[in-house]
Subunit: 338 residues, 4 copies
């Protein structure tokens, strides 16, 4: 931690700051420049919690030198993590494809999807049983009934299954039926839910919040891992910007950024990011090329009948074709598609 003093801060003010730091058992390195003096702090900064040095007389600003997330930080865990999910893994060597409908609508709809995405080569079935919707008057999901269909579809096809949980109640229900949990963008900082997911023992996919920085996202993952659950996969799903041609702006730079800061795998969701079916395939190829660990894709037997997010869903034929077009890209990236 570095404390930058204002130009013209008095010797007394500087001494006072230094004394506060020392009184907490930390060491001080003073650096007097022509314009400003800098106070370097050496030692465990958590001891300064509550000291609020920003408010001391003569202090201009404080610069943090180290990240607040530790267990998900690559600096302290340099090898990339591999996350086991049922009979598959997410991480180096694999380009995992999670596919299925935005919302589970019926037993048949889900089973048809499961069979189609399995045939096309996906390894994880997605489907929403709890739908967080902007308006209270939109379809909110089948809840436990949907989870049962999920379990049946997983058993029938051998696919692993993933489902979003939006509350503790949803979590305790879903934990009985699915192989992997998903925290959606709107709940990225629902800290109680993060902690409980951390205690669940199940692998979890953590979507980036709508306007979350990469640092906030990694801190959210730290909530999960600090409760004992290291099986976390990150998911970039677009951030909110002023551009309206796509629903969100897919931030593919986040993939190499996460790669440099964390050992967790990261997958990409081009369906939610763009909201437009025609953009899903090109951005999926780009995700493979940029080094992502996989994709989450929306597929629906009849997109024009879907109760949620039809415009971005692929038909079975489109998904099958996309997987074929994708394969040479995952091959190039040295990863097994599936």
């Amino acid at each position: 931690m570095i404390i930058i003093m204002k130009p013209g801060a008095s010797a007394q003010a500087i001494e006072q700051v230094a004394n506060i730091v020392r009184s907490k058992g930390l060491q001080v390195h003073l650096s007097k420049g022509d314009e400003v003096t800098i106070v370097g702090v050496v030692g465990d900064k958590t001891k300064l919690r509550g000291a609020n040095l920003e408010l001391s007389e003569g202090v201009d600003k404080i610069v943090q030198v180290t990240e607040s997330y530790k267990l998900v930080n690559k600096k302290f865990h340099p090898e990339d993590s591999v996350i086991p999910v049922k009979n598959t893994t997410i991480g180096p060597g694999t380009f995992t494809v999670m596919a299925g409908p935005c919302a589970i609508e019926s037993h048949d709809q889900l089973l048809q999807c499961a069979e189609a995405v399995k045939k096309a080569g996906a390894s994880i079935l997605r489907g929403g049983a709890f739908k967080p919707r902007t308006s209270p008057y939109s379809f909110q999901g089948l809840e436990e009934e949907g989870l049962r269909y999920m379990k049946e579809a997983g058993e029938a096809t051998g696919l692993a299954t993933i489902c979003e949980v939006t509350s503790l109640r949803a979590l305790s229900m879903a934990a009985k039926y699915v192989d992997m949990l998903q925290i959606g963008a709107r709940n990225m900082q629902n800290f109680e839910l993060l902690k409980e997911v951390g205690r669940s023992g199940l692998p979890v996919m953590l979507k980036r919040g709508l306007a979350a920085t990469i640092d906030e996202w990694l801190n959210a993952a730290e909530y999960i891992i600090s409760e004992g659950n290291p099986n976390i996969v990150l998911c970039e799903r677009g951030i909110r910007t002023y551009e309206t041609a796509t629903r969100n702006t897919l931030d593919l730079s986040a993939v190499p950024v996460i790669r440099s800061k964390s050992h967790l795998p990261i997958i990409v969701d081009p369906s939610h990011a763009t909201g437009v079916r025609a953009y899903v395939e090109p951005l999926s190829k780009a995700a493979a090329a940029v080094g992502a660990d996989g994709l989450m894709i929306e597929v629906h037997p009849c997109p024009s009948c879907a109760l949620s997010d039809g415009p971005q869903s692929l038909t079975f034929e489109q998904f099958q074709q996309m997987m074929e077009h994708l394969k040479p890209y995952s091959d190039l990236a040295g990863r097994k598609l599936g």
Copy 2:
């Protein structure tokens, strides 16, 4: 709802769209232009849920004509609402000041704050017992112990009390101790929490999400009111932009915008928005001038000792002074300060 067809959409495609609309029991108004044809839809649009007209052949885009929120919409409830909280009200005629520490730290800290803000003229005591923090290693709040202090401080001073709830567990606890609930920015779209707050019967302040549009915010309020609770106050607390000189960008335009779209009161939180103590007073005056219904302000007996958000907290003297400087502005706005 208006369906805009692509240039060159075939007569067949237009007829098909019109037929889908008619098949749901709605009327169609066709408007053929030089370049494009437009299909107007007349009747209850909820009947089209699931029709996914965007996906029909020849459709370019769909424009919604009416808002999805109804009960909080000024169009259907033109008089401004007045929200009762203990022995005070929020709304026309009053410029309500909620003040207190970011986090409740001890019985004495809170009681001192309560007495100081009461003396300076505030009518509602704020204080956090559940703190949503970016890092799991930051102070997370005193929880029920803090709520007890809140109740005692309210009884000792006669102030109404408000506390943020971050989960169903926090809500069921807080409902026993405080007069008003707060939903924070991170939980603006925690829909299960919104619904439960809607069932609680307590007045609630709903903060705008970090990157929420005004429409999403009003839809979140619709979740609360549609469960039977009309006692909702909105709170503008800054939105996330690229600017880093302030923690967030306080969107004071939201005040007249909300005034034109909804009957709910709206107050302003300049402390969280800016993160800088020196900017709180000028922006508080601006909030009064722009027509807001009140303020939420952070006050601390010793900002440099605060466990949370010290840099933006005012001392008792600063708060007292600000209230004096504020009075002529609330007078001008025709509102009683307090």
Copy 3:
């Protein structure tokens, strides 16, 4: 300047960085922490230009301690500037109102506007002769003809006049006719234009760029002042965000931020910021309350006939009324309205 080394940077790497700094004639202060080492640099940092220390082995990041703008910086010029324009001044003690049509459309339109805004109490007449428009097919301005009308209207009413210049050609024309130049948001970083305006000797109003940080804005002002022209007024006109209820998001926090960083006056343009007539008056009052030095307001004899930006323009009656409502706010702020 502070150089933060990576955890585990070798002693050799640290020594090499220190040597580069010393080789430029600067001093080094080393601060070795538990996790990282920090290299403080003392002396004139412009000597390090081109050294690109970020690229040296073992360097994590570089933190700038001092701002790159000097002449507009309050640290080196603590008293607020007063900018003379014709027979009036902008700065402390005055709440300057610039008003007039978005675009100059005819001699009569402009003269009527001039008389109306003069009567209502404005002191500067605005009007665009060169209109930067998103589409090449929109009205682009009357150019020199419009400037002549401007000069005539200024002489007829005694008002000072201001006009936007969008190019060197426009600048050399406008300098012959108007009292003050305006650099629009789109040209905030048109550096050649900034330099030439700096050489013109005329007072200039510099609007904030659509997505400019406050630091970039002050650096743009530094371009003007470094050519010898200290007569600069800043103008906050809204920044681009994801919110669509207003055309831009008016950042009123920028007023106290600029006040703390620079000695230049700052005025507010609520007309362009919101794009909605009904929001202009409340935000104008807020601008007075937050401590701005004035306003720029669009007024038109017949907004529904305007060639540009009609929806946000006030009629003469509305402007007259707004000025009356505004007066108590500028009085409260201790400023003379006009």
Copy 4:
């Protein structure tokens, strides 16, 4: 164009709006719904310029149905354009790589770069002679001297050359020396410069503005093409968001969006977008995979000695290697690298 009336707009108000439209020689289609009435306008909307229907009594909002750009619009020119530059072309079938230093610093530096990027397979040499810099105290470019070096390097290697022009003066100079002009992000809406570039007859690369929407970008291109110059290449270079881990957020979705809206080629600049050397290669591969027409890459003989943007520049070896890694991706995309 569609005019949406407010709920409860009087029959008189609706009739008045319809009359205004008719009085301009356009047709009206009325559509009366349960809540609102919609007025469809048929015919050439430019006739309504200045009518400002938003301001008529009872009007809620106006929705534009057709884009304001015409000549760059794919709807009216479905085949993708191929842009000739010296002895090469940009567009379908080619994955063009423009490479070179951010700023031209000397004859030798540029010639070395030219030889290195030629050897590695690039076909166009980039290099800045006019540098738009945030601070007036940063290096501003060699101007005409730099342009001469550019011409020499082009002749020596056979590479085509491209250089940014920041003003009319720079343009008239550059036109004598280089094969292609570049309009930078800060000048995307410098309309006078756009028009002059449109008259120059030279091929031009138009970078997206820092906070420009895709529609604004295409309208800026329309300024160039409407002056008679169809040889335009778009360049996505990142947009400004709240995220700070990269300098800007590279919006790769813009590639398929542009592909669906315009016939112009689009290339990607990952160097400026990220500001970090390590992210350039993964994002270059992603650009090829998403369907871009090429790349602009910064290369420098000694990044740690560069006068501008060293941290994002590749060394010759890194660039050579990147080109080798890129080749299978451009092959997969069915394009010739170069």
